[in-house]
């Protein structure tokens, strides 16, 4: 690790504005899936200028052979006339060292800054020392839901993690436009009373995010699991049917096509009452990562949604 730290110092020495550096975070990415690791690096490259600091990407190769290969890159981004630097260290590790990642990471951290550990594919074990040393863990219910056992395994694991650590779920961040729009639909005085008369909820999304959305609605609206229908599809959609004083309202928030638009509408007794549109940010992963890094704190609404999702069976 001294060699890696030395390489970083040499790169820094060559940079133009040696005397000035602004860093805000250490981001440690842990993945044994090379594709997931590459996705995270791409996201970071788009994001580096927003959260400059040091990224340590640990690509785990579960073979018997003990080895560490390292590459170090210094990135420069011009933003608003400023030059911003951020560093990326990629460590490919195999063998026994995979069980002692904290010993690799500690010497390479910018010590005065917070450490965020990102598990883009598999979730960390309960006793993972690296996870224990981080101020916050970034996870992704969608990627976790794609692993063996799907959401039925991922949700209890996330609940377990959230009891001990600050976890920030990128899927939850990406669902924000849906949550905002649905909440907005219930804002008008005329429609607010329907929150107490929800009869059925249909949620479609990837395995994982669908459970988060459904759990959120179960928790917030007091809907029993029997009233929830879950379907797995590519784009997220929510449909809530509610009744109040003999009127029936259908609240829908959906991304109907691949276009980065989410459509929200309320139909009152079969007639269109309200319609809203929201634009989704480009580069969803980079955006959700930036949002996550900007709000590294417990989110009780998310934790309650996770707990409720356990009841989905």
């Amino acid at each position: 690790m001294a060699e890696v730290a030395g390489a970083l110092d040499r790169l820094r020495r060559e940079e133009e504005r040696l005397a000035t550096r602004t860093s805000v975070v250490n981001l440690v990415v842990v993945s044994s899936d090379p594709e997931a690791a590459e996705r995270t690096r791409c996201a970071m490259r788009r994001l580096g200028h927003r959260h400059p600091g040091r990224t340590l990407a640990l690509v785990l190769q579960h073979d018997q052979h003990d080895h560490i290969d390292a590459s170090v890159e210094l990135h420069q981004v011009q933003a608003d006339g400023r030059t911003i630097w951020w560093e990326e260290v990629v460590l490919s590790v195999g063998g026994r060292v995979c069980r002692h990642l904290d010993s690799l990471v500690s010497p390479l951290l910018l010590h005065e800054l917070p450490v965020v550990a990102w598990y883009p594919s598999e979730l960390p074990a309960r006793d993972d020392p690296l996870a224990a040393s981080a101020q916050a863990l970034l996870v992704d219910a969608r990627w976790a839901g794609e692993q063996e056992g799907g959401a039925h395994r991922a949700i209890p694991a996330l609940v377990g993690l959230s009891r001990r650590r600050v976890i920030v779920d990128l899927s939850w961040k990406r669902l924000m436009p849906w949550r905002h729009l649905l909440a907005e639909l219930f804002e008008p005085e005329l429609l607010r009373p329907f929150v107490e008369g929800v009869r059925s909820v249909e949620v479609t999304a990837h395995d994982g995010p669908a459970h988060l959305l459904a759990g959120w609605l179960m928790d917030r609206l007091g809907v029993p699991s029997a009233a929830i229908t879950l379907r797995v599809t590519r784009h997220a959609a929510v449909r809530v049917v509610a009744e109040y004083r003999g009127q029936r309202a259908t609240f829908t928030v959906a991304r109907p096509t691949d276009a980065r638009l989410v459509l929200a509408r309320v139909d009152l007794d079969g007639t269109l009452h309200t319609r809203r549109l929201a634009t989704l940010p480009e580069h969803g992963l980079s955006w959700s990562l930036a949002e996550a890094l900007s709000h590294l704190e417990r989110d009780p609404v998310y934790e309650h949604a996770l707990h409720a999702a356990l009841g989905l069976g």
Binding site: P52, R82, I84, H180, P188, E189, L221, L277, V301
Partner: protein
């Protein structure tokens, strides 16, 4: 159903971190004017784009121009390049009321539109009036609103607020007269006076720097600070605003408002909380502590100047008197430098130097605290020849950040000490898209957060400080100096500090 009888929206919990406007009717007077097109509508579009507006927000334009709803909507779409779908959605609900501001029927029709919107668009009886008109109309419009019964919310729990932009008067008397007119129609708590400078992130960052850290506040006083400098430099001339500038000058245009606000935040005591009242109380206390320049000292402590032709940014520029709509024998100042004193425990004996000017070499705004020299320098003079006093500079624009200047050893065998600067660039650490000042202030007014708006007594105190200087300019007791465009002002400005053994910081 009254708003307070509504069940809470359980889905909104956890989303409050993102500030959002309540349902309301935003009424823009001067809806066909320049300020509306250049600032207000683009700021609204950005708010709509990031979904900070309630779906039950409706914009109502009021102006003399003969337009209907459709034409106003067309204008709103035209002034925003690349509008988002959310903007198109919002604009579809825009309403327009054409009429003269002095005609009571204009306000009757406006009242009818607002009542309809409360019924049909769920604006909940909330009104935010934005006066994007010439200042001369502030009083008459406020009066007409009150006369039409529109200065109060029509229902319990609602609100009616009035936003006005600087200038707030031309001097102390006219500012008080304006306040009298406004207070005849609205209560002070309903008034939101905008100085867009306060909407800048880095101006607010002065508060964070001082009161969220332990390392700065202990040295932020007369024991360690030698003097304070505030510079608001502009490289532009008056452009097409010559007519306006002739009636204003740098003292009214910049010092009375922007500079005084920045000074208030820099000199104030720690507020008990960051609530609007506490912050504004402390700012007023700080402004009250600034010694009013005595007529007999104004000539010595104030520099007044006007730019002549010169070179700025590699281009030849004409002198102020050759500018469009400027009198050839104008005595309007385009540069002011002042030496102020503060009479309180924290700052007694620490001079505050202020300068602002047009056609200076570059555009920047900063507050610099220069610290006292060490009581005894242990190093040989030859080893510390270029060592400058320590300084902390808060850069407000354009390269927002903080610079700390201090001495460090030069690497090598000898023990030489040299001045270095440590630079924190605000944008490099937080590449969040900072809201533009109008966006921030507009949303603050909607949610009812008056922290960054100027209270009546702040306006009063600011005028109190500059009033004797205004009078001295008017009776020519401060001679009008001249400076070449593209320089840092007249030699008199340098002499103002040189006589105290100081100089404007090359920070």
């Amino acid at each position: 159903m009254a708003p307070e009888d509504l069940a809470p929206n359980p889905l909104a919990e956890g989303l409050e971190g993102e500030r959002r406007s309540p349902p309301l009717a935003l009424v823009i007077f001067g809806a066909s004017g320049d300020l509306t097109s250049r600032k207000i509508l683009p700021a609204l579009e950005r708010l709509a784009r990031r979904r900070a507006l309630s779906p039950n927000l409706v914009v109502v334009g009021v102006a003399r121009s003969d337009m209907d709803d459709a034409q106003f909507r067309e204008l709103a779409l035209k002034v925003v390049p690349d509008p988002s779908p959310a903007w198109e959605d919002l604009v579809a609900s825009f309403r327009y009321v054409a009429g003269d501001y002095t005609d009571p029927t204009t306000f009757d029709r406006l009242g009818q539109v607002l009542a309809d919107l409360d019924q049909g668009a769920g604006t909940a009886g909330n009104r935010l009036y934005y006066l994007a008109t010439v200042p001369g109309l502030f009083g008459p419009v406020a009066r007409s609103l009150a006369r039409a019964g529109l200065s109060r919310a029509p229902r319990e729990g609602g609100f009616a607020r009035l936003v006005i932009e600087k200038p707030f008067g031309r001097d102390l008397a006219s500012a008080r007269e304006l306040d009298g007119e406004l207070h005849g129609a609205f209560e002070e708590r309903q008034l939101y006076r905008i100085d867009h400078y306060l909407g800048k992130e880095t101006v607010q960052n002065v508060l964070a720097l001082r009161f969220a850290n332990t390392i700065f506040e202990p040295v932020w006083n007369r024991r360690y600070v030698d003097h304070v400098q505030v510079t608001v430099a502009e490289s532009l001339g008056v452009g097409h605003r010559g007519g306006f500038y002739e009636t204003a000058g740098a003292l009214r245009d910049i010092v009375q408002n922007h500079v005084m606000q920045v000074l208030g935040l820099t000199l104030m005591e720690p507020p008990a909380t960051v609530e609007a009242k506490d912050i504004r109380d402390e700012k007023v206390k700080a402004l009250r502590s600034i010694v009013i320049p005595a007529p007999e000292t104004v000539a010595a402590d104030v520099v007044r100047a006007q730019y002549d032709a010169g070179w700025v940014d590699g281009e030849y520029v004409v002198g102020y008197r050759e500018e469009e709509d400027v009198s050839p024998d104008s005595t309007t100042e385009t540069f002011v430098a002042m030496r102020l004193e503060v009479d309180n425990w924290r700052w007694a004996g620490v001079p505050v130097y202020v300068r602002t000017g047009k056609r200076l070499p570059k555009r920047f705004t900063e507050v610099a605290l220069q610290f006292q020299r060490v009581p005894h320098l242990s190093f040989a003079t030859s080893q510390s020849r270029d060592l400058l006093p320590d300084a902390l500079v808060v850069r407000i624009q354009p390269d927002e950040g903080i610079t700390l200047r201090f001495g460090a050893k030069v690497p090598g065998q000898a023990f030489a000490v040299r001045t270095v600067s440590m630079d924190f660039s605000y944008g490099a650490a937080f590449m969040e898209e900072s809201p533009d000042a109008y966006e921030r202030l507009l949303l603050d007014a909607m949610v009812g957060d008056p922290t960054l708006f100027i209270r009546s007594d702040e306006v009063d105190q600011s005028w109190r400080i500059v009033e004797p200087v205004l009078r001295a300019f008017e009776d020519d007791s401060v001679p009008l100096a001249r400076y070449e465009a593209g320089t840092w002002g007249p030699p008199e400005s340098d002499r103002l500090l040189a006589r105290d053994g100081r100089r404007w910081g090359a920070f």
